[in-house]
Symmetry: C2
Subunit: 256 residues, 2 copies
């Protein structure tokens, strides 16, 4: 039922600083996991699952059960001992902590290979991150709609970002342009930036930057390959490549 526990939610709650204070104390790593739990829980909810134990959820999310419980404890105690967690309740609390109760308008800058993919991606709007503006410096692109949104010229970035209340700026330009684009976004009041360009951005303290660096990811994988090769070498001999040792596909399945 939707109306359970009369969680009026209208912040008319007993002005507990506890909630607000709590948010500050959540470790960054835990925040990232909460986002994963949220996705898993949403999937469960869609399949009609109403309750889940920390053991089940932790397996579905690929983490240790104790860690999951600790993560959830950062946002409060919403489980029932002996039973588990109510999926919907957990979803709504995680959404609240992650600030997903309101939409976050996204702007993509640099509509090249990657920018096109991002603009066309349908996964963001549904999760509260509508892409509302696209920018590029290329005159041939300006005016053309991509993913339903017309590309604006980079010079209009301030006006458009303010008008559409952009809160997250995504940088998908070539590396040399990234810092300049970043500065423009910051000037336009954008305080969150997701950067795909392999460049270290300099920003004021009040701006949050996260980077996605595929080359770095691959190099980390490369490191592990090398390490593994070394280990194998020092132990010599080896176990066969083992096509499918154990581990099957499955994983757990729906349970209505």
């Amino acid at each position: 039922m939707a109306s359970q526990r009369g969680e009026g939610e209208t912040t008319t709650t007993p002005a507990e600083p506890a909630d607000r204070e709590r948010a500050r104390a959540i470790p960054e790593a835990a925040v990232a996991r909460l986002a994963v739990y949220l996705r898993v829980l949403s999937g469960m909810a869609d399949q009609g699952v109403t309750a889940v134990s920390s053991e089940e959820l932790s397996q579905a999310a690929g983490v240790n059960a104790a860690k999951l419980r600790k993560d959830l404890s950062y946002i409060g105690s919403y489980g029932t001992r002996g039973v588990g967690y109510d999926v919907e309740v957990l979803v709504s609390h995680i959404e609240r902590i992650l600030g997903l109760t309101r939409n976050h308008s996204v702007a993509v800058v640099g509509i090249g290979n990657l920018g096109h993919a991002l603009a066309n991606y349908g996964g963001f709007p549904g999760r509260g991150f509508p892409v509302t503006a696209l920018f590029d410096v290329d005159a041939d692109l300006v005016g053309i709609p991509v993913g339903g949104i017309p590309v604006n010229h980079i010079d209009d970035i301030t006006a458009v970002c303010l008008e559409r209340e952009v809160s997250i700026g995504v940088i998908a330009t070539p590396p040399p342009a990234a810092q300049s684009v970043c500065d423009r976004l910051v000037s336009a009041g954008v305080q969150c930036i997701l950067n795909f360009a392999p460049v270290v951005l300099q920003v004021p303290d009040n701006v949050e930057v996260r980077k996605v660096d595929l080359a770095v990811e691959m190099q980390i994988l490369s490191f592990h390959v090398a390490r593994r090769a070394d280990e194998a070498a020092s132990v010599s001999a080896g176990i066969g490549p083992a096509g499918n040792n154990g581990l099957g596909v499955d994983g757990m399945v729906i349970r209505p």
Copy 2:
């Protein structure tokens, strides 16, 4: 220097530990930063810079100088006290530790929006990660070259991966297909996977998975916005640092 090492490292090989042993001891977080240092150093080398101090390099990489020196110490002592580091020397040692002395063949699975962008991206081959195979289940795509490489059918994945010695598999398929694609890659002997699908993959112990989840990144940004808003709210009653009122372009933005 081999002056003093911590105590036993639980190694099975008592002789000539040197770099091989060292690699195992490098913290994961440091490995990620080494990749960033490498990129910065490569850029410096291209511009003719031959020497650099920990202070300069750390600033360019956006980290603390002490942390940078500690990171470098994990791979050995290649600096010169009173002077700094030789750029080329550092580059070659980092490349060696990251296993970049040999190429790592990459296969991309799922040639949709994202797959196209990845296949067309020119930044990988130059860094030792040549994309040598593309796969999709869509018959209309099979045979068509993308970024110069013809798309293969997913059913040929084992044969093609073995033939081209693919060492990294990139998953860019819709979420429902991700686990199955992952299993196929593993069966084909691929031990490193970079996953873009918002799904938790189940893999054997000998396979390394890294994920890139844009929705999670955005939610982390959202969390910080919310946290910042809370802080502002709890202080709003009175003190307002500086003379600007939140919204809009605040006064700063200076950047050297």
